[in-house]
């Protein structure tokens, strides 16, 4: 992994900042939620306390001893905002709750009750497809017509009842039976109570309007099928049971509204969780007016709200844990999801206790949006800042990494090329003046190279030194042998002397070869440059080589005209000697050595191409180094890998270069020496 990548990864760890920000925002949010819960609950408690002090104003109409029981005919009077038209439909009641079923006794029906300022509204739906009309003269005994009986308890406790029936659907008035069985009963119209009878395909609807003042706290409804005498609903019993009318307390709304601020809804429920009154309204999450940005961040940080219960809303009663808990006596708060998009809604409830008895509860509801807004604003800020910081950190880290790796790369390149192909050592390294670790590394390289250079120099001169130092002892040996021979030896002794002499002369040629490079260096120092014809020189030299190596086939191609160059002809010949020597050694017995001279605008190129085994690729560049030898197999001549080194020395003396390559057909090697004309 490159340094750049490593530092980039390190820099990316700064992404932990936004993450920490999210955590912080979450904590902030939950803290805010708790504090909102606490404050809302405290407010609910305050309102509950205030209301319990005036419980008469709150619970005036309620007999809360028994639980609400629709099966016993208890009716909740929905507060209706506008006075509905009497038309047999309840759509204009503007309630999104379905009518409750009447107790079925052979007949099915549904009922709903509402209350306006002056009237009690009743809506009865009966499933009775066969309509029996009311005859013109009715007596209760001979009634075989469809009707709806309504009975109620007056404020003073006495009972009253009317029935609704009609000869034709439409606007009707209630009828009442007057008199007793003894005095004779008769049916009279009750003009104060009006209704609308609507016939439908399934049965009929009756929408009735009864002045509020006529009815006390209980009311019973019964639908009768005229033909079968089957009924649905409840009729009054003595003592009165069921049929209680649960009414929102008049004036409770305005009272509550004095306690609450905007965005909060306060509701008072009775012990059965039926609503007695409410005020205010909840402002739910408006559909993200500030665009996708908020929600984008929210995705990262929003607490999990899916576990929250959904707010169940009903016009007549309240549900939920907090309400149930408050009615059971414990103040409580909970978060709900409300609305189409599941906006947060806080619901806090506190019981209203009068004379140590729980009469009901105050429920406060508040949207959680303010929190989200607050959080989002903080979070957006935090996010922007930390992302900026991260981007900055990443950019800086990347920049530094790039800078460092460029420097290291430079150093590496310099180290790679410090030892040049021709074996020379470049001692200066880049970056060595820097004071940091890379600078130290570079200086370390420089010291290493200096040592290496010393060593290389030592090796380079070792041959010459050895050759010199060994010459005197060798001379002693040879001169001693000369003397010994002159003394006159026996025939058997002469053999030893001859062998000793052979050994000495081999040693001599080894020393001579060892010292060859330094002698060439010496003669290069003293070389004089003259103008000469390279073509003529080569022709003459090749002629000599043909004599010198009769077994070898040497071909020469040159340009037709003269090739003057400025240089040291002796050295050039010496260079050719070495090239031809080398080619002869490697040429296959039947092979050919092709020597070529070509001319470009400023330089000559001498190629020596011999058939033979290719040179291993990794050695091609090292062939011209001092003391490099890849020769295998032997001949008598000592080899110290100096021949091609001398070629290089001479080429460089002339400002040229030497190179080796394998022939593309793999059948031989080509040595090329380039020499400038001047």
């Amino acid at each position: 992994m490159s340094i750049r990548l490593q530092l980039l990864i390190i820099a990316l760890t700064t992404l932990v900042l936004p993450w920490a920000g999210c955590q912080y925002a979450r904590e902030l949010e939950s803290t805010l939620r708790v504090s909102q819960e606490n404050s809302l609950q405290a407010a609910a408690q305050t309102i509950a306390n205030a209301l319990s002090a005036q419980s008469q104003r709150v619970f005036s109409a309620v007999d809360g001893e028994q639980p609400f029981d629709g099966a016993q005919g208890d009716l909740y009077l929905f507060p209706l905002i506008a006075q509905p038209l009497l038309d047999g439909y309840r759509e204009d009641w503007d309630l999104d709750v379905e009518p409750t079923a009447l107790r079925a006794d052979g007949l099915t029906g549904r009922v709903q009750a509402g209350v306006t300022e002056h009237y009690l509204m009743l809506y009865v739906e009966v499933d009775d497809a066969h309509f029996e009309a009311e005859p013109g003269e009715v007596s209760p005994e001979q009634d075989s017509f469809d009707r709806v009986n309504v009975a109620w308890q007056r404020s003073d406790g006495s009972l009253d009842s009317v029935f609704f029936a009609t000869s034709a659907p439409g606007l009707i008035q209630a009828q009442r039976v007057e008199g007793t069985v003894e005095t004779g009963e008769r049916v009279v119209v009750e003009p104060r109570i009006q209704a609308f009878w609507l016939q439908t395909s399934r049965g009929y609807h009756v929408e009735a309007r009864i002045p509020r003042s006529m009815v006390g706290s209980r009311l019973w409804i019964e639908a009768v099928d005229g033909q079968s005498r089957r009924t649905a609903g409840f009729m009054g019993a003595d003592p009165p049971r069921g049929g209680r009318l649960i009414t929102p307390t008049p004036g409770l709304g305005p009272l509550l509204s004095t306690f609450i601020g905007a965005g909060t809804q306060a509701t008072v429920v009775d012990a059965n969780a039926l609503k007695l009154g409410s005020a205010g309204s909840v402002v739910l999450n408006k559909d993200d007016p500030d665009g996708a940005e908020g929600s984008w961040y929210r995705r990262f940080v929003a607490g999990d709200t899916s576990r929250w219960p959904v707010r169940l809303s009903a016009p007549d009663h309240m549900e939920g844990h907090s309400v149930a808990s408050a009615i059971a006596g414990r103040p409580s708060a909970e978060w709900l999801r409300a609305g189409a998009n599941g906006s947060a809604l806080l619901s806090a409830a506190a019981p209203i206790i009068v004379d140590e008895r729980i009469h009901g509860a105050v429920v406060l509801e508040q949207g959680g949006d303010q929190l989200i807004d607050l959080r989002d604003r903080a979070l957006t800020h935090l996010f922007n800042l930390t992302l900026l910081a991260t981007a900055l950190a990443v950019a800086i880290a990347f920049g530094i990494a790039t800078w460092i790796s460029v420097r290291i790369d430079r150093l590496r390149l310099a180290a790679d090329t410090a030892v040049t192909n021709d074996g020379r050592i470049r001692l200066d390294m880049p970056e060595s003046r820097r004071t940091d670790e890379i600078g130290a590394l570079s200086r370390g390289f420089e010291r290493l190279l200096a040592r290496l250079n010393e060593h290389t120099q030592y090796l380079r001169t070792l041959g010459g030194k050895l050759s010199h130092e060994l010459r005197t002892p060798l001379t002693i040996v040879r001169s001693s042998l000369d003397n010994l021979e002159s003394e006159g030896l026996r025939a058997d002794q002469q053999g030893y002397v001859r062998r000793a002499r052979e050994g000495a002369s081999r040693l001599q040629s080894i020393l001579s070869a060892l010292g060859a490079a330094s002698r060439v260096e010496e003669s290069i120092k003293q070389a004089e440059r003259v103008s000469f014809d390279l073509k003529e020189l080569m022709q003459s030299a090749i002629e000599g080589y043909r004599d010198g190596f009769p077994a070898a086939r040497i071909e020469l191609t040159t340009p037709t005209d003269t090739c003057f160059m400025h240089g040291a002809p002796d050295l050039v010949v010496q260079m050719l000697d070495k090239l031809i020597d080398n080619a002869v050694d490697f040429c296959t017995p039947s092979g050919t050595i092709r020597v070529g001279l070509t001319r470009s605008s400023t330089r000559y190129e001498i190629t020596v191409d011999n058939d033979g085994p290719p040179i291993p690729e990794d050695m091609l560049n090292r062939l011209f180094e001092s003391l490099f030898e890849h020769r295998q197999g032997g001949d008598d001549k000592p080899h110290f890998g100096l021949g091609l080194y001398i070629v290089r020395l001479i080429a460089e003396f002339h400002g040229g270069s030497a190179a080796a390559a394998n022939r593309s057909d793999g059948g031989g090697a080509v040595f090329t020496v380039t020499l400038p004309m001047i």
Partner: protein, 235 residues
């Protein structure tokens, strides 16, 4: 004759390496010379001041003095203009240094020289001394154009002007000029000069010979290099 020829010619060998000193001495003594050996410049010069040898063989580096042989040669030449002096060197490169110094030595040899070769050139130098002391004998003079070679006195002249060559150089020129136009390869030249040298040294000898002739005649180019083969004398 106006001079007394001693029974034995005396040769001084100044060489700091005792084994070599003894070997050279023994070889030359066998040839009938009287040998005196010295290990350093001081002792040699002390002896020379009282008695001059007939020939001196001097090593260039003498004990601590890297070029003590040169100084000794100069001092000895100051004592006698005629005494033949042979330099022995351990290094090829010194040959060039020696030529630059023009100390008046008669020959320069590397220590590679074999004892028979050394003896041959000692004998040659004595022969030259003898020839110089005899009256002129122009019959021995070979002429090749501007070149004249006196084989007895081992002297050369170009256009009549003497060219001072060392013994080795004289023999090389002699071998080349005897058969003008014929290429002599390095081996032939070495044989002629009674030396065993490597190619480079032959090259530098030729170079030196040319330079010496050019000092007399800057236009001299009678010695031609035949690259890859050797050298020839052209008239």
């Amino acid at each position: 004759m106006g001079y007394h020829r001693p029974m034995k010619r005396q040769i001084a060998i100044v060489e700091d390496e005792p084994a070599l000193r003894e070997n050279y001495g023994a070889a030359l003594a066998r040839q009938g010379y009287q040998i005196k050996t010295y290990g350093n410049r001081k002792s040699a010069m002390g002896a020379f001041e009282t008695h001059l040898p007939d020939l001196a063989i001097i090593d260039i580096s003498l004990e601590e003095e890297a070029e003590g042989g040169f100084d000794l040669c100069r001092d000895l030449r100051a004592l006698s203009a005629e005494i033949p002096i042979i330099f022995l060197t351990a290094r090829d490169s010194e040959l060039d240094a020696v030529s630059g110094l023009r100390l008046g030595a008669d020959d320069f040899l590397t220590k590679d020289v074999s004892l028979p070769h050394l003896a041959a050139r000692v004998a040659a130098l004595f022969r030259r001394i003898d020839a110089l002391r005899r009256p002129d004998n122009s019959a021995q003079i070979v002429r090749r154009g501007a070149l004249s070679i006196d084989g007895e006195k081992m002297q050369t002249a170009w256009n009549g002007a003497p060219v001072t060559l060392s013994l080795t150089e004289f023999w090389i020129v002699h071998a080349l000029a005897r058969n003008p136009g014929h290429v002599k390869n390095r081996q032939q030249l070495m044989d002629a000069a009674n030396v065993v040298l490597d190619d480079n040294t032959i090259t530098s000898h030729i170079k030196r010979v040319r330079r010496k002739f050019q000092q007399v005649d800057p236009a001299f180019d009678a010695i031609q290099t035949v690259y890859g083969m050797g050298y020839r004398w052209v008239e």
